[in-house]
């Protein structure tokens, strides 16, 4: 609702012009404080004002182009006064909306040059100040929390738009160029703007909520509501951060101690669990396994490939066909065969592993003593290998090769 030239008479236009100039001058000073950041109180950071206020003004300019569909093809757009006040503070809000109005008047001929004072007073000053006042009061009165901030933003915006309409009616009563009954102007302006205000409020509240969810520190109106961040030191942080970083130097040494023990324990636990699962499967669950031939046997049977197949050489062994020879009960027979199989596999596998490990350990014995100094800064896994090669062979250990 940009007022054009000739709508309000000259004295009132001039008076609002002076008022608008004063408001902008005050806002320029206040915006420096609002945008100055943490250094503002020290007199520094004032040079932040121009880029930040300029970008916020560009944001308001752009967000006015964002169309919100209402119903049946009609759509509205945000006015942005209340939103600017809540997001960046009242002074910056007045300043940015004023700059947007000035540029719209000069560049886009939107709103008259002589009516600039009226437009700034009405749309920048009244909207922003009313919105921020209500918002701040509500935030103080309501319990803390994001929901309260969003609700306060809604109420602030829903009142700020009709407030601008009322201010416009007042200006029109003072300096309107046509004698329309003030009651009519008031009813028409306020009625329309209450509807606009509801839309504006919904969008403003949703937008403030969206910003609050991502960057709560950017919402000026909600500053001081967030709990200050606490630095908590976690007991887990030391070992985890210290281990395994080759470049972390001496700080890695204290962390290196518990790590191999933990690794060994967990490896042994895995090993034991694996053996237990294998025994359970082989001894108990195997009874329920399918008795029909597996895929390869089936194909061989179908195609007659197995016609020439000879009986296995070990067919007379005590464990042939996965059952123990002299036990009648099929369940116990199959289970026992499985358990014996697991045990045998384990024994053979571990034996091979132990032989390989011992041979490697002997080959590396000399090299170990030379590199012992460097090994301490390596990941802790290397620390125990030289001395523990012989005992408890089963769990796979971290070796220097694997580290």
């Amino acid at each position: 609702m940009h007022v054009p030239d000739g709508f309000i008479d000259a004295p009132v236009s001039a008076a609002t012009g002076v008022l608008a100039a004063a408001a902008v001058a005050v806002s320029l000073r206040g915006a420096r404080r609002e945008l100055g950041g943490p250094e503002a109180h020290a007199g520094l950071g004032a040079e932040r004002t121009a880029p930040l206020a300029g970008l916020v003004a560009a944001f308001i300019f752009a967000v006015q182009m964002l169309n919100f569909p209402v119903a049946a093809g009609t759509s509205g757009h945000l006015l942005g006064g209340a939103l600017a006040a809540i997001l960046v503070g009242p002074y910056t809000g007045v300043l940015c909306v004023s700059v947007v109005l000035l540029m719209q008047a000069v560049l886009f001929a939107d709103g008259g040059l002589t009516a600039l004072g009226v437009n700034i007073t009405d749309m920048a000053v009244v909207t922003t100040v009313v919105a921020y006042g209500i918002f701040r009061g509500l935030v103080k009165a309501l319990p803390r929390g994001r929901r309260a901030v969003t609700a306060a933003a809604f109420v602030a915006a829903v009142i700020s738009v009709p407030a601008a309409a009322v201010a416009f009616t007042g200006l029109y009563a003072l300096g309107g160029t046509t004698h329309v009954p003030i009651g009519t102007v008031f009813a028409a302006m306020t009625g329309v703007h209450v509807l606009i205000g509801i839309g504006e409020a919904a969008i403003t509240a949703l937008t403030v909520g969206a910003v609050l969810a991502v960057r709560p520190d950017l919402v000026y109106g909600a500053r001081g509501l967030a709990k200050p961040l606490q630095l908590r030191t976690s007991p887990l942080a030391g070992p985890v951060a210290g281990a395994g970083e080759p470049g972390s130097g001496p700080s890695a040494a204290p962390g290196a101690g518990p790590r191999p023990a933990g690794a060994r324990r967990s490896a042994r636990r895995v090993w034991l669990a694996g053996v237990a699962v294998a025994l359970v499967c082989a001894g108990g669950v195997s009874y329920y396994a399918s008795t029909s031939p597996d895929g390869l046997e089936k194909v061989a049977q179908d195609q007659g490939i197995d016609a020439k197949a000879e009986e296995h050489a070990a067919k007379d062994s005590p464990l042939a066909d996965y059952s123990v020879k002299d036990i009648a009960d099929p369940r116990i027979s199959g289970g026992l065969a499985g358990v014996i199989g697991v045990g045998a596999t384990l024994a053979v596998g571990t034996g091979v592993f132990v032989v390989v490990r011992r041979r490697r350990g002997a080959a590396r014995g000399d090299a170990d003593t030379d590199t012992a100094a460097e090994a301490t800064t390596e990941a802790g896994s290397a620390a125990g290998t030289g001395t523990t090669v012989g005992d408890a062979p089963a769990p796979p250990r971290h070796t220097p090769e694997s580290a």
Binding site: V3, E47, G54, A57, L66, V99, A210, L218
Partner: protein, 253 residues
């Protein structure tokens, strides 16, 4: 980003109007609009003279009439308001085509239409013949606070960037099959606005740091454009002087 960064209304050209210093033009347009607003609405013929003056300026600036008329559409919302006036205003009634219309209301509607249109036309001519940088420098030479000029220039320079960001978000929404159809979809659009604010603010912080690292201390050096000569002021004053004469004639006749 700064030089040749034209706005929508600007029409590049080399006419005598283009060549005038920007601050002369801004002052001239402001005085012209003041004269128009001060004219009594009953002097109908004066507004025709004002329109002729503007037409002469447009011809001198080689701005086509179609361009000017198209840009006048900005005024449409207030035309609707003006059309309503004869129906709601009080005062003696005149009967036109069987409807009773308020006489002061008719005058009021005429007043708004005539003065508003002339004001918009003058502003469009100013914007069409002055580029952005010129306008901002002109405002600064006319004693607008430098900080305000800086904010305005940042807004103009990054206005297109931010608007493009908004457009990209819209394309992204569309390409994911989202189309806002009603109130239920406001949440998504509001999240767009929120994201746009965060991006704008963070861009502002980056711009500030980039400027500080290049030695910015809060003031921008103003290129010392040569002050307007007396001849240029005289040429720029032709329009408001003529308008003032018309205005005085309107009051006396």
């Amino acid at each position: 980003m700064s030089a040749g960064h034209a706005h929508k209304l600007y029409r590049h050209g080399h006419s005598p109007v283009h060549a005038l210093p920007p601050h002369c033009k801004i002052a001239a347009v402001l005085c012209f609009v003041l004269a128009v607003v001060a004219t009594p609405r009953t002097a109908v013929w004066t507004f025709a003279l004002y329109a002729l003056l503007l037409a002469a300026v447009a011809a001198a600036a080689r701005v086509p009439a179609a361009f000017l008329l198209k840009r006048l559409l900005v005024e449409v919302p207030f035309v609707a308001f003006a059309v309503l006036m004869p129906f709601v205003a009080t005062g003696p009634r005149v009967h036109i085509l069987g409807t009773a219309l308020s006489e002061p209301g008719l005058w009021g509607a005429w007043n708004i239409l005539a003065k508003g249109t002339l004001g918009v036309a003058a502003s469009v001519l100013l914007a069409a013949t002055t580029d952005l940088r010129g306008l901002l420098l002109g405002l600064q030479r006319l004693r607008m606070p430098p900080l305000l000029v800086q904010i305005a220039s940042f807004m103009i320079r990054y206005g297109d960037v931010i608007a493009d960001e908004l457009r990209r978000m819209r394309v992204a929404r569309l390409s994911r099959g989202f189309e806002a159809r009603g109130v239920r979809h406001w949440g998504v659009l509001a999240k767009t606005a929120g994201a746009l604010f965060i991006r704008s603010y963070e861009r502002g912080e980056r711009v500030h740091l980039a400027m500080v690292s290049r030695g910015y201390t809060g003031t921008l050096p103003v290129p010392d454009a040569a002050a307007a000569t007396g001849a240029q002021w005289t040429r720029a004053a032709a329009l408001p002087a003529a308008a003032l004469a018309v205005c005085l004639l309107g009051w006396t006749l």
